[in-house]
Symmetry: C2
């Protein structure tokens, strides 16, 4: 690994580098709270081989955004989940009519697509944590702007 590689690895904000205890300190919540947010589907941390959670810098930012929603705007977790589920995944992923017809994320959309069990062929082999639908709602407090940008460019 050369110097450029090292620099890239360090600057890659999506690299999972923080253990749950460190992440909890950075965000200002308990480790249990982070696990709860995961259970609720608000965040998908990476896992080590031994199933330990690892959080990236973007994960930290996502968590900080969740805290803003809770502390400043008074949302509960259901509301944040609802806000995150506003992203039109079928548009972002370019799903065909056939894809949509067979996809629960398109049909119900009462929860984020990354929480939906049965998914269309477009997504089924992809890790949701790598997907732009999941990644772009990092700033869930600004979904309105995000959606406007999306639709304007559609």
């Amino acid at each position: 690994m050369n110097a450029t590689d090292i620099k890239e690895r360090l600057s890659d904000k999506t690299r999972p580098v923080f253990a749950i205890g460190v992440a909890a300190d950075l965000v200002g919540v308990s480790v249990h709270t982070l696990r709860m947010y995961e259970t609720e589907g608000l965040i998908i941390p990476q896992r080590t081989k031994s199933k330990r959670r690892l959080y990236s810098q973007t994960d930290i930012e996502r968590l900080q955004c969740i805290r803003v929603m809770i502390e400043d705007r008074g949302f509960n977790l259901a509301g944040i989940k609802g806000m995150m589920s506003m992203a039109p995944c079928w548009e972002i992923k370019g799903c065909s009519e056939t894809d949509r017809a067979s996809c629960d994320a398109y049909k119900s959309s009462l929860e984020p697509c990354w929480m939906v069990k049965s998914k269309t062929s477009v997504c089924q082999d992809e890790a949701c944590s790598e997907c732009p639908v999941y990644r772009d709602v990092t700033t869930c407090h600004n979904m309105k702007s995000y959606l406007q940008e999306h639709w304007k460019n559609a």
Copy 2:
């Protein structure tokens, strides 16, 4: 008033006809709860000359939708308010760049435009309860579809 007029009046779902006690019974909540939803900005009932609240059929439907959000989806009032504030009022109302620049509803958009104090000239003389931005989020549990429809036709 002829027969057609009577029929129209009866069938107009926006006519304010229910006193708060009747509305509370129809929705299955207490009168205090209805007043609370109003304070939170979720609904704008009409008023009689003596300031008594009157609810229309669409008001009832709006309230039923709020109950669905709370009971079925677990939202709190802040979350419902946030969901309702997703409507891009400046698009719906066709605000100019100048309008937008001077409008808090465009700039912050952390609450529904009908709760924003300082409004642009486009809205300042209009009753928010008559405005399509307010009226179209009657089905707040389906904002996702509503926004897709809106942007598709924009």
